[in-house]
Structure formats: C-alpha cells, structure tokens
C-alpha cells in the first residue's frame, strides 16, 4: 500500500480525530479549531458530522473531522459504524474543490490516547494501524497521572509505537503548538509516518485470512486484514452487508468460514493477539503503584470514593433522585424569568404589529395572532432547552450519566430497553424534542426506535399549563390543595406508567428487538471542559429553533387561517347591534371633561370611562368568540363533537383540542377566545377560570366537573399534539411512517383512556 498521497492544491488535507469515548477528544478538537467549526451530516444517517478548520504553522490549514468515539472498528452502534466507515475509507470525508470528486481517504489520523487507560485505548490503535494511514498520537489526561499514582514514559512510548506522541493538556499553549507542528510535519508530502506493527495472530487463521483477501481481490473487492478477519468470524456482522458481495463473493465467504470452523480456533485469540502486542509496548513504559492486592490504583481514588456514595445501595438512589430533582427544578424555576422575558418580547412585537398593521386587519391578525403568537409559543421553550442541555452535557462529561444509567438499567431492562434510554426519557419531561435527539446514544436501532416512540408520552412542559388550569379551577376548589398536588404528581406519572409496558410490547411483540447486551464504561469523574459543555448546549438549542421554527411557522399560518376564515360580517353586525346601543348610552352619561378636576366628579367620570372600556372589551371578545364559532375550526369542532361526547367534552372543548394538535400550548389561548376572555390569557387567569366554571350544558349541568377536568387532563397527557415532535421523529428516523404511527397510537391511547375515565366515573355516580 502506498504512503499518504500528497495534498492536492485544490483540497485541504483532512485530519480525522479518532479514539475511545471519554478520552477528551472533543477538548482536543475544540483546542485545535476554536470557533471555526460547524456541524453537518453524513449522507444517509442521522449521525452528526463535526468539522472544523485548524490553522497550522507555515500558513497552512487542514479540515478536521471529529469522529464519534469508538472502542473498536468492529462497530456496534450507528455512531461507531460511521467512525469506522470514515477510517476505513468507505465514506467520503471531503471533496476536491475543483473536480468535485469525493475524497475518501483521510490524510492523517489524530489518535487521542488517554494516558490513564493506555491498555484498552491501544486496542483501537492496533486496528487503525492496520489501515495504512499516517497517525499522530495526542496523549491526554497526563495531568491526572499523579493522582492515579502512575507514570508514563512518553519518549519510550513514542519509540515503541513509531509515531509522534504529543502530550496535550486542555488548552496549554505549548502543547497545542507542539501538536500543530507535528501535524504540519506529518502532512508534508512524503513525511507521514504510518504505524508498523506485527500482530501475532494464529498462523492457520492468518493463512485463511490471506486466502480470503486474495480471492476477494480477484473479485475486485479490496479488504484490509482487519475487515477480512472480522468477516471470517461473524456472519451477522454489519460488514457483511456493507461490502458489496456478489454470489461468487458469498460462495467464497462460506468456503473460508467453513475452513475456519474446521480449525476450531478460539475467537478470543484475535483479541488476545492484540493485547499481547500492547503488553509488549507498555512494559517499562507505564508504571503503576500497586496497592495491597497487587493491582494498580484506580485512576482516581476520588472517583471510587465518590462512587462509594453515588452508586451505593441507598445513597446512590437517593443521590440520583436528588440530581433529577435539581435538573427539573432548574428547568421550571430558573428558566421562568427568561421565559417571561421572551413572552414580553413577543407580546411587544405583537403590539407593534397591531399598531403598524391597523389598516389591514386580516394581515394584522395573521402576523399577530398567527405568526408571532405561533412562533412565540415555541421560542418560549428555548431557555428550558438550553438549561436541560447544559445539564446533560455537564453530567455526561463529568461521568455521572453512566452511573445514572447503571442505576436505572434494571428498571428499564425488562421492557427491552436499557439504562441508556433513561436520559432521552428524562429529557422528554421537559420537552420531547431534545429527548428524541438524545436517543442517538443507543447502539441498537430497534431499542432506539422504541425509546423514541415512547419518549413523547412523558408529560412535557407544554402540558403543564393545562394541568395547572384544570387542577386549580376544578380540582382544588372541591378537594383541597393536598389532592391537587397529588393529582399533578399522578398526571406526571401517567407517562412512564403507559410508556414502559408499551415499550415492552413494542420491543417484544412488534420490533422483535433482540435482547440487547448492556455494557457501559464508568469513566473516572472529571471536571467537564466548560467550553465543550456550552458549545453542545448551543448547538442543541440551534437545532431546536430551526426544527420547531420551520414547522410551527408553517402550521401557525394554517391554524390561523382555519380559525379566521370565513368571516361573515353579519356575525359582527349582530353583536355590534347589541353592544353599540349600550356603549352609546354609557358614553352619553359620562360627565363632561371640565368636571374631571372636581374630585367627586372624577370618580363618577372615571367610573363611566371604565364602564365604557369594559363594554368595549366585552363586545370585542364576544365578536372574537362568535367569529371563532363560525370559522372552519369552529365548524370542525362542532362536527367532531359527537366523537368527543362520550368523553364528556362539548364542542368548545373539541375546538380547543383540535386547535392544540399542532402545538399543545395553543389550547389555553383558544379556550380564552372561545369563552370570551380574550386570547391574552394564561393558565392563571381568574377570568378564564370563572367563565369556564360558569359554562353549562343544554340541560343545565356544568360542563366542567372534576371528572371532566380529569378526563381532559388524561387525554392531554397521552395525546400526540406537537408537530415539532412529529417532525423531529421523522428526521431522526428518516421515515415518515413512524411519525404517523406515533401520532395514531398516542391519539388512540388518549381517546381510549379518556373514554375509560369518563365512563367509569359516570358509572361510579360522578358527574
């Protein structure tokens, strides 16, 4: 195999950063590229591609691709698979600017090696070394060597590996300069150093490997030693499908596999061969202080002591509950001032629109009630998303998330999921969108799919206003604050109670998810790199805004149109006829302007002024409500009302529900309009609550009883009413049918549950 081709003038050299997870790869990447980085996509998969630009000494520069962490080129997850594919040259990393030809071969592999964990880290190194790519090693965590009571002879390591090895600590200037210099040197045409190593694989196996490679070569398929060995062993290995295998190829594979089986060799001998080589390299290079048991200390005693607490039988679970509570609290409490600020900004925008577009009432309504209100209702969640992702990034980089997965695995394992699924589910309690995105950490595609499909069942923050409104208006007055709080807790519990059994059903019954093995590294606790944490949170927020923004923007227009049109003048005229006479009468009774200086008369005058103002508001609200009743949305509400009648909902509630399908939050404003309280209400509006309480059915019984309130909340808890979530599911899974399935099953559950609750309640004698 030839050495790395010299960088063509029209293509910047491409460096890929590879290494195990938890080795500080991102820190190295960020240090090299700074803010000159962006996130893209690999073709055909939802794995993110992180690319940056590194400036090198001598006025050169290079593209740097930060690959997902992987333990071995024998990948087990989509993330690992992409990293392996890039390294093996099966996925383009760049393109020639002039010829637009895709470039498959990286020019350099920057291998990140954790100094406190050399033995296992080097396993991947031995595989990459077989790919005939130039390598430069960045040795991280060297500042933690002291704490781990160990020493690494960097010079000796460099000699044994045969490639440059540069210690890199955080953002230390000299280290980065060294690294850049070595990278630049390695990229010089003809100067690249390719690792050389001889691995001691069992000779008979190697003979068959050689045979396979030769025969596939004749078929025109180039296999590296690594790929050939893996193909030999594992017929279910992803490599099987990914390498174009013809009938002839298939026959060859079956033949060599039979030969290997006849040899009756132990699969562990391959891994053993690599570790044997690693032992040879590390002898004398790595020195560890042994404890009494004769083993090296853990890389941080602090870590094991902290774990004594955090994974303790009792304190561990308590600690976990504490951390979760903290995350939740911060999302609800700390986010509130920012959310209020955003609401104010959008409110003012709405006001401006109102003033400037007064002449064109339809346009004004479109912009104000449709676009600004619609988009605003999504942007308002931005502080929560940011806070959640800051927490997730911090907890993940510090190492705590693996402990949490360790604690929760038993709870989730029986459903066919595993401990890793709990973060997506937890995030979904704030908002399902980042939760669904977080499911990328799950290696098995089917487990990831079922996680994504049940995550939206968790009660997100958009459901909270409905719960609060219903509980404070219809539960608390009858049953007191204690039951009210319990009800809220139960509403939150509905999510997991439904999600877990359904996940079990999905995994075992529908998807036939194989029993997924669960293996997770518990890295030593470390202080996260603040820039890394911040960067990830900002990226997630940006994604959220873009995804939600485009769909919501479009839907806001549709919903607005449905609630605006048609607008028969006759409706307004009727109401005007009713109110204008009253307003004129009230106005003519107000005292003349001159008397306003007289203290007594001022009261009288201002009383009248406010009566007039109240009448005007009432009239405008009545008009708005009448228009809504006449609109397509209103008509649709009346049309579907029979469907919702068995749940105890009248047509006004039906309209509210329909309007909430694109985005749950909309229901409060819609209810506000329907009940003549105006659209500027929130869940605390006494006005709205009292009006709802006063609503009666044709037979005189109240519409909103505690039973109806409960039914509505349960319906809301389970129903799929978020276009942004559906859009995210679509994008994450690359298939609209799963999004459709999500919508159908959740809405179905919501309907059945609501029906059950209401009918059983009625049977038990409640109203």
């Amino acid at each position: 195999m030839n050495a790395a081709a010299p960088a063509a003038p029209t293509v910047r050299p491409v460096i890929v950063v590879a290494g195990n997870p938890n080795t500080g790869k991102s820190t190295v990447f960020n240090a090299l590229c700074g803010t000159r980085q962006r996130v893209g996509n690999y073709p055909g998969v939802t794995v993110e591609k992180k690319i940056g630009l590194a400036r090198l000494p001598g006025a050169g520069s290079a593209d740097v691709v930060d690959l997902p962490g992987l333990y071995s080129l024998g990948a087990v997850s989509p993330d690992e698979q992409i990293a392996a594919d890039v390294l093996m040259g099966r996925v383009p990393v760049s393109e020639d600017r002039r010829s637009r030809e895709a470039v498959h071969r990286p020019d350099l592999v920057l291998f990140v090696l954790d100094a406190t964990n050399l033995q296992r880290n080097l396993f991947l190194y031995t595989q990459i070394a077989e790919l005939d790519l130039p390598v430069v090693v960045a040795l991280t965590m060297t500042d933690l060597l002291g704490g781990a009571r160990m020493n690494v002879d960097v010079g000796a390591l460099k000699e044994r590996l045969g490639v440059p090895v540069i210690p890199v600590i955080g953002r230390r200037r000299e280290h980065l300069d060294n690294l850049r210099a070595e990278i630049a040197a390695a990229l010089e045409p003809g100067c690249a150093v390719t690792p050389e190593l001889t691995l001691d694989f069992p000779a008979p196996v190697e003979a068959v490997v050689g045979d396979l490679r030769e025969r596939m070569n004749d078929q025109g398929v180039r296999l590296s030693g690594f790929e050939a060995r893996n193909l030999l062993l594992n017929s279910r290995h992803p490599l099987q499908e990914r390498i174009a295998v013809t009938e002839a190829g298939d026959a060859i594979l079956n033949d060599v596999r039979a030969k290997v089986r006849a040899l009756d060799f132990n699969p562990s001998s391959l891994a053993l061969a690599r570790y044997k080589w690693i032992d040879g390299v590390l002898a004398g290079v790595e020195q560890r202080e042994k404890n009494q048991a004769g083993e090296g200390r853990s890389s941080s005693d602090f870590s094991s002591r902290l774990d004594g607490l955090l994974t303790h039988r009792i304190f561990g679970l308590a600690g976990f509950a504490g951390v979760m509570y903290l995350v939740f609290q911060s999302i609800y409490t700390w986010a509130t001032p920012f959310m209020d600020l955003i609401e104010e900004v959008f409110g003012s925008l709405s006001g401006f629109a109102g003033t400037y577009l007064e002449a064109a009432p339809m346009l004004q309504s479109l912009v104000s009630d449709g676009l600004i209100a619609g988009v605003g209702s999504v942007v308002v969640f931005l502080p929560q998303i940011l806070i959640l992702f800051l927490f997730i990034a911090f907890l993940e980089d510090s190492g705590y998330l693996s402990r949490a997965a360790f604690l929760m695995d038993r709870l989730l394992g029986w459903t066919g999921l595993n401990g890793r699924a709990f973060i997506p589910m937890l995030s979904s309690f704030a908002c399902a969108i980042p939760g669904i995105m977080a499911a990328r950490v799950m290696p098995d595609p089917r487990a990831r799919l079922s996680t994504i499909l049940v995550a939206p069942l968790m009660s997100c923050s958009a459901r909270l206003p409905v719960y609060l409104l219903m509980i404070s208006a219809f539960i608390e007055p009858h049953f007191g604050a204690g039951i009210a709080a319990l009800t809220l807790f139960i509403m939150y519990g509905v999510g997991p109670i439904v999600a877990l059994p359904f996940a079990w059903f999905l995994n075992r019954g529908v998807l036939k998810t194989p029993a997924i093995p669960f293996v997770l590294e518990l890295p030593p606790y470390r202080w996260p790199d603040p820039l890394n944490v911040l960067w990830r949170a900002l990226e997630a927020a940006k994604k959220f805004l873009m995804r939600a923004g485009t769909i919501i923007f479009a839907l806001s227009i549709v919903i607005w149109a449905m609630s605006y049109f048609p607008r028969p003048e006759a409706v307004a005229d009727n109401i005007h006829a009713r109110y204008d006479a009253m307003i004129d009468a009230a106005e003519s009774e107000s005292a003349p302007v001159e008397l306003r200086d007289d203290p007594e008369s001022t009261d009288f005058a201002s009383d009248n002024v406010s009566i007039v103002a109240d009448l005007r508001t009432e009239r405008d609200n009545a008009i708005a409500s009448a228009y809504l009743e006449q609109s397509y949305l209103g008509r649709l509400g009346k049309l579907v009302q029979p469907v919702f009648a068995p749940l105890g909902f009248d047509w006004k509630i039906s309209v509210g529900i329909l309007g909430a399908f694109p985005a749950r939050e909309v229901i409060i404003a819609t209810l506000g309009i329907i009940y003549n309280a105006g659209s500027a209400v929130d869940e605390e509006s006494d006005d709205l609550k009292s009006r709802m309480a006063a609503e009666t059915r044709p037979d005189g019984t109240p519409v909103y009883t505690p039973l109806v309130a409960l039914t509505l909340m349960i319906f809301f808890a389970l129903c799929s009413q978020c276009m942004s979530t559906l859009a995210t599911v679509w994008r994450e899974l690359n298939d609209w049918r799963w999004a459709a399935f999500l919508f159908v099953y959740m809405t179905g559950f919501a309907y059945v549950a609501g029906l059950a609750v209401y009918q059983i309640g009625r049977a038990l004698g409640y109203q």
Binding site: G74, V76, L317, R410
Partner: protein, 84 residues
C-alpha cells in the same frame, strides 16, 4: 458443559471485592456482543475484580485493565474466571 474445578465460577457469581483471572468465554463464534466484550479486555489471563452490583441487583460493576465498566449478569454469566 465440562465439570468446572471448584475455583472456577462465572463473573456473575464473583462476590463484590473478589478478584478473578479469566479462563474462558462461552460464546458462539458469531456472537458480536461477546466479541466486543473480548475487545474491551475480557481475554483469558486478564484479571478482573467485581466492584459492586447496582442497588436493584443488576447490572454489576467490574474493574478490568485499570478501568471500570458495568455489565448485566446475564452477560457476565458467560465469562468464567478462576478466583485468586
């Protein structure tokens, strides 16, 4: 299954705090997961220590090659060690 000498037991049965030396992995040749386990360091001759089990009983935390990881008992049952 051949009879085990008294000192051989599966990793799932190794008591917390005890150390063992891996003697054998029971895995079909095409078991991708067990291959991954081996790549992570679970090879014959390697020392492994059981650290603790999760509060709810599963998975268990073990220490191997100077790092910690957690593994479910059902998988650990396929790894056989000799106590030391």
């Amino acid at each position: 299954m051949s009879s085990l000498s008294p000192a051989h037991l599966s990793l799932a049965d190794l008591a917390p705090g005890r150390r063992g030396c891996i003697v054998r992995i029971d895995a079909a040749a095409d078991d991708a997961f067990m291959l991954r386990i081996m790549e992570l360091g679970f090879v014959p001759g390697q020392h492994v220590r059981c650290v603790k089990s999760a509060p709810l009983g599963d998975p268990i935390e073990v220490r191997i090659m100077h790092y910690n990881l957690c593994i479910r008992k059902s998988e650990a049952a396929k790894i056989f060690v000799e106590t030391i």
